[in-house]
């Protein structure tokens, strides 16, 4: 049984895949509560499907890009759980998961983009061909600098319709599709390393500044 989850957007999505197809999928209710919602969702998926932790054979996790704090909750959970259960963990670029769903559900037929919310008035964006293969990105930038008339899946089109007028489904990553992507190896399988794309905000301290208030 493959357990999959993604915490690279404001909500947590988690699913189980039995090797044939997705058997259950859950979505957290409140945004920005990754730390609180992920573990109970995993526990509920197991319990409600009559499974025990030893039934899990692999873990799939979205590696972003996405807001860092939530992203790390998913990755540290995946790494720790895989370590303690001694099972493999596969990372997938979160935008790839959105792309494969868009292709397989017929929402797009030719070249297209996936854009998600990077906050600070920016988006994470990648480009895909008509078979869902990533041809460029992911990058983080201002929507105006990436404006396109191509179809755009992901929340980016909802947030910035002036720059991405052709919004298509899906608007957020699904753990069910993440599981399918891994089970069928539809995208590049990565180590569970976060795709931050941004450096930490920090200023190297210069020479000592006087601590005295101006006289």
């Amino acid at each position: 049984m493959l357990l999959s989850f993604d915490t690279a957007t404001s909500l947590v999505t988690a699913a189980l895949h039995d090797g044939q197809d997705v058997v259950d999928e859950r979505l957290s209710e409140r945004p920005m509560k990754h730390g609180e919602h992920l573990a109970p969702l995993i526990e509920a998926l197991l319990t409600d499907n009559g499974l025990v932790r030893q039934d899990l054979t692999a873990i799939a996790v979205g590696v972003g890009p996405g807001p860092f704090t939530g992203l790390r909750v998913g990755l540290v959970t995946a790494r720790t759980l895989a370590h303690v259960l001694e099972i493999p963990v596969y990372g997938v670029c979160t935008l790839d998961v959105v792309a494969i769903e868009a292709i397989d559900t017929g929402a797009v037929t030719g070249d297209f983009l996936v854009a998600t919310d990077a906050r600070r008035k920016e988006v994470y964006l990648a480009a895909y061909d008509d078979r869902g293969r990533r041809t460029d990105g992911p990058v983080v930038a201002r929507p105006a600098d990436l404006a396109s008339d191509l179809p755009v899946a992901g929340e980016g089109a909802l947030l910035y319709p002036e720059h991405f007028p052709r919004g298509v489904a899906p608007t957020r990553p699904s753990a069910g599709w993440l599981a399918r992507v891994v089970a069928e190896e539809r995208a590049e399988l990565l180590d569970p390393e976060p795709l931050y794309l941004r450096r930490p905000d920090a200023v190297v301290s210069g020479p000592r500044k006087p601590v005295l208030p101006p006289a």
Binding site: E36, L38, E43, V84
Partner: protein, 348 residues
């Protein structure tokens, strides 16, 4: 084989990724990965840098702790983790990892208070805590006086800093003197060859008028400014600064206030045991002064060895083991990381 609980503790409230393993009061492993070097060039802890380092260090540190302890994760009876207070993003990495361990092992999870863990750690060195005891926790993030009746139930805050934490003052003064971050150990070393009465730096909140409202509170920002003024005045007059004397005199002022207030609080509440914890408790002058002054008043002082005073996983495991032994209820899986978890909440 002992029937004492085998507990794994995780601590990620600041820049150290700590994983400790204890069996009852026996320390089996205390693995720590620190990102302090990465912060040194920023002159202080950068939360995002710390959080990234926690993610990378988490599983390797768990592995190292198990190896050192000679136990398998499957043998662990319970998981404890610092749920607060601390840096929100940093706490979250530890809490999420602890939940994954709890699910993966099918064992209970305890989200515990960082400050209570600083108190509980002394059990690993000196056995069961005296009840009640007066705990003085001093570090870069906190400076508090606490009355502890039962560390697994609750802790009574008596006083705390009204501005900078004691450790913060050490860092800032070290920076003024051109000493590296973190400042504590460097000031301690520099002070060893200095004259502690060379400069009469102020003792915050010790004047009669302050004692009414702030009898058991601390203030270190005035002291920090006084050191800065003194250093700048010397520089203006072209006098070379005697770093050792400044360090020794500053350190003396901090330790004097801390010790005085701790003893006063203990006597006021009729408590005969003082426990000192937190990174500043590693300071050699504080340890010596507190022990000497307490002895004169018939009060006992316990200070864990320096390695257990700074943030570590063993302290979290120690508190976890005590919670298990006393049959306290574990936390739920939706346990939040609470950056401002109050000291009165021992288990979240």
């Amino acid at each position: 084989m002992s029937d004492e609980p085998l507990v794994l503790g995780i601590e990620t409230s600041c820049d150290e990724t700590g994983v400790g393993i204890v069996r009852g009061h026996t320390l089996l492993a205390d693995a720590v990965a620190s990102s302090v070097e990465e912060h040194a060039r920023f002159g202080g802890v950068v939360p995002e840098v710390a959080s990234r380092a926690h993610l990378e260090a988490m599983v390797p540190t768990i592995e190292r702790a198990c190896e050192t302890a000679g136990v398998s994760l499957r043998d662990i009876d319970a998981i404890a983790v610092t749920s607060g207070p601390g840096l929100a993003g940093a706490l979250l990495v530890g809490v999420a990892s602890a939940k994954a361990l709890s699910i993966g092992l099918g064992k209970p999870l305890y989200g515990v208070n960082h400050l209570a863990a600083h108190v509980a750690v002394d059990q690993l060195e000196h056995g069961p805590l005296p009840e009640p005891c007066l705990a003085m926790l001093v570090s870069g993030g906190h400076s508090s006086l606490l009355k502890v009746e039962d560390v697994t139930v609750g802790v009574d805050p008596l006083g705390s800093t009204i501005d900078d934490a004691a450790g913060e003052a050490f860092d800032k003064v070290a920076r003024l003197l051109g000493l590296p971050f973190p400042g504590g150990p460097h000031i301690d070393r520099a002070a060893a060859s200095g004259n502690s009465v060379a400069i009469d730096f102020p003792r915050g909140l010790t004047a009669r008028k302050d004692l009414e409202r702030h009898r058991f509170d601390f203030s270190f920002s005035g002291l920090k400014t006084a050191v800065a003024r003194w250093v700048e005045a010397q520089q203006r007059d072209g006098i070379t600064i005697d770093v050792a004397d400044v360090a020794a005199s500053f350190q003396e002022a901090v330790c004097d206030v801390l010790t005085r207030k701790a003893l006063d609080a203990a006597q006021f509440h009729g408590i005969e045991d003082i426990l000192i914890g937190g990174g500043v408790a590693a300071n050699s002058r504080l340890r010596a002064m507190a022990t000497e002054r307490a002895e004169a008043r018939g009060i006992r002082v316990r200070v864990p060895r320096p390695g257990l005073c700074t943030d570590n996983g063993a302290m979290v495991a120690a508190l976890g083991a005590e919670l298990v032994k006393r049959g306290r209820a574990p936390s739920a899986l939706d346990l939040p990381a609470d950056s401002s978890q109050p000291i009165t909440t021992v288990v979240a």
